[in-house]
């Protein structure tokens, strides 16, 4: 008898309540994005692929000091220094193994020259493992970026942490 009463209560009140919810969702817009054709805009602070920046005169910022490699928890950065004709220290080899990289962004925090930044791109898939070993040529921007959103953002972060701003 008790079971029957419970069943009646469920059928007359609780089940319609639950079914009303699912019916409501039937008429809502699905949250799914049609991914390869529609891409979600990433948040400003998203850390994707690496970029190596240049000074406004076009010379490379990176001086191959090795601080990013030291800061890297995944140990994915490898670099070898060289000197150019002006006697400036530059990176001859600068490699990042994207398979090891965890995109934590500690390299951009460690960099004293504001040279390395994480970008917004996140689609790295490839069928060749060697394609994930990115060299300096892969990461170096072709010309100095006047309005660099990452730099601006980074400046803000520096202010928050009380670090003096050294970007010209």
């Amino acid at each position: 008898m008790k079971e029957i009463l419970i069943a009646f209560r469920n059928v007359l009140w609780r089940m319609p309540k639950g079914m009303a919810i699912t019916l409501k969702y039937l008429f809502k817009k699905p949250v799914t994005l049609d991914y390869p054709t529609v891409k979600k805009p990433m948040v400003e602070r998203y850390g994707g692929r690496h970029y190596l920046e240049r000074y406004d005169d076009g010379s490379e910022r990176c001086v191959c000091c090795g601080l990013c490699a030291a800061a890297c928890p995944a140990d994915c950065i490898y670099m070898e220094p060289e000197e150019n004709e002006k006697g400036e220290r530059l990176a001859r080899v600068f490699e990042i193994n994207l398979l090891r990289c965890i995109f934590c962004g500690l390299c951009e925090e460690a960099c004293p020259e504001e040279a390395i930044f994480l970008g917004q791109e996140y689609e790295f898939s490839d069928d060749n493992r060697n394609a994930f070993l990115w060299t300096k040529e892969d990461m170096l921007v072709s010309h100095p970026r006047k309005e660099n959103p990452f730099k601006r953002l980074y400046r803000k972060v520096r202010k928050v942490y009380g670090v003096p701003d050294r970007i010209s």
Binding site: E3, I4, A7, V11, M15, G18, M19, I21, T22, L23, Y25, L26, K28, P30, V31, T32, D34
Partner: protein, 333 residues
């Protein structure tokens, strides 16, 4: 004689095609509605709105490898899908799907076979389907399958009783076992075209029928036999390729069958104003199918003991009560 054979063959082929297409597009409907109820989009790639998805699925499943487990009972394993599939289709032999028509100078009844014991035929045939499920569970030589088969059989036995009793009320009211007669008794010429539908006189019977029909067809929330979170896929765990798809088609054909029977017994079958009778029938079946999917999207699976106690302690007494009360009213009248 020849004429009758030709007409019947045409009707059978048309109905078969309709059922198989209906099954295919029920899967599409289910995936789409279920997805939308869960904030997803469902199939979108094959054709507009993913409408070609059933075709793609069918092609894919035909080209799949047909695996037979090493310790399976080969003969039974091959037989089981057929034993499930055939009764599911057979049900439609007696379901009237439209008003009588004159086609090419012939008086054509829109039912394959107007049996005078149509209801009995349906209930006899749908109960046969369970043998296929039990055989599949047993012959697969897998514990999951066996558990699924056992659950299915226990569930069937429990719900078959209430399932049969739930429609006794309608039969008492209609005083016939012929589906065409049951439909004609629900017809009405007034503007309230639904006034004679048996759902108004048999609301409890309808609720019981609906619940038991879901349990009979092994659908969520009574899908104990499949229970993918507990038993992998239940009785059809070891099946692949076309054999699996036969179970699949059988499940959907069964759903369509009980939807059709529900529409016939409680919603006046093809009776309805303005629109052609076949369309009315399809609309009612569609609403039933939608309700099935809606239930699946809403409720979690019953626990096994809950299922049993619900079947025996709630549905069975209510079905008896419904039968007794209906019979009592009939006596007084």
């Amino acid at each position: 004689m020849f004429e009758i054979v030709v007409i019947t063959v045409i009707k059978v082929s048309v109905v078969m095609m309709a059922i198989l297409t209906g099954c295919a597009y029920s899967t599409w409907l289910e995936r789409k509605v279920l997805a939308r109820m869960q904030n997803r989009v469902g199939p979108t790639y094959a054709g507009p709105f993913g409408l070609l998805q059933p075709v793609a699925d069918g092609l894919k499943i035909i080209f799949k490898e047909d695996l037979v487990p090493k310790n399976a009972e080969k003969v039974m394993f091959a037989l089981a899908p057929i034993v499930t599939f055939v009764p599911a289709i057979l049900t439609f032999a007696v379901i009237p799907f439209g008003a009588d028509r004159i086609l090419f100078g012939h008086h054509v009844k829109m039912v394959i076979s107007d049996l005078n014991i149509g209801v009995l035929w349906i209930f006899a045939v749908t109960s046969l389907g369970i043998y296929g499920i039990i055989l599949a569970g047993w012959s697969s030589g897998s514990k999951y399958s066996l558990m699924g088969g056992l659950r299915a059989s226990a569930q069937m036995i429990s719900y078959e009783v209430s399932y049969g009793l739930s429609i006794i009320g309608v039969i008492i009211l209609a005083n016939t076992l012929s589906l065409t007669e049951i439909i004609s008794k629900q017809s009405s010429d007034s503007i309230w075209f639904f006034e004679n539908w048996y759902i108004w006189k048999q609301p409890l019977g309808f609720f019981l029928y609906l619940t038991c029909a879901i349990a009979e067809t092994n659908r969520a929330p009574f899908d104990m036999a499949e229970a993918e979170s507990e038993l992998v896929a239940g009785y059809h765990t070891e099946y692949s390729s076309m054999r699996f798809s036969m179970f699949f088609i059988a499940e959907y054909a069964n759903m369509l069958a009980v939807s059709s029977v529900g529409a016939v017994l409680f919603f006046g079958g093809w009776n309805g104003p303005v629109l052609p009778s076949i369309l009315w029938f399809l609309i009612k079946v569609f609403l039933f199918m939608f309700f099935y999917i809606w239930l699946r999207a809403t409720f979690p699976r019953f626990r096994y003991d809950q299922l049993m106690s619900f079947g025996w302690k709630v549905l069975f007494p209510l079905a008896l009560l419904n039968t007794m009360v209906t019979a009592g009213f009939k006596m007084i009248k």
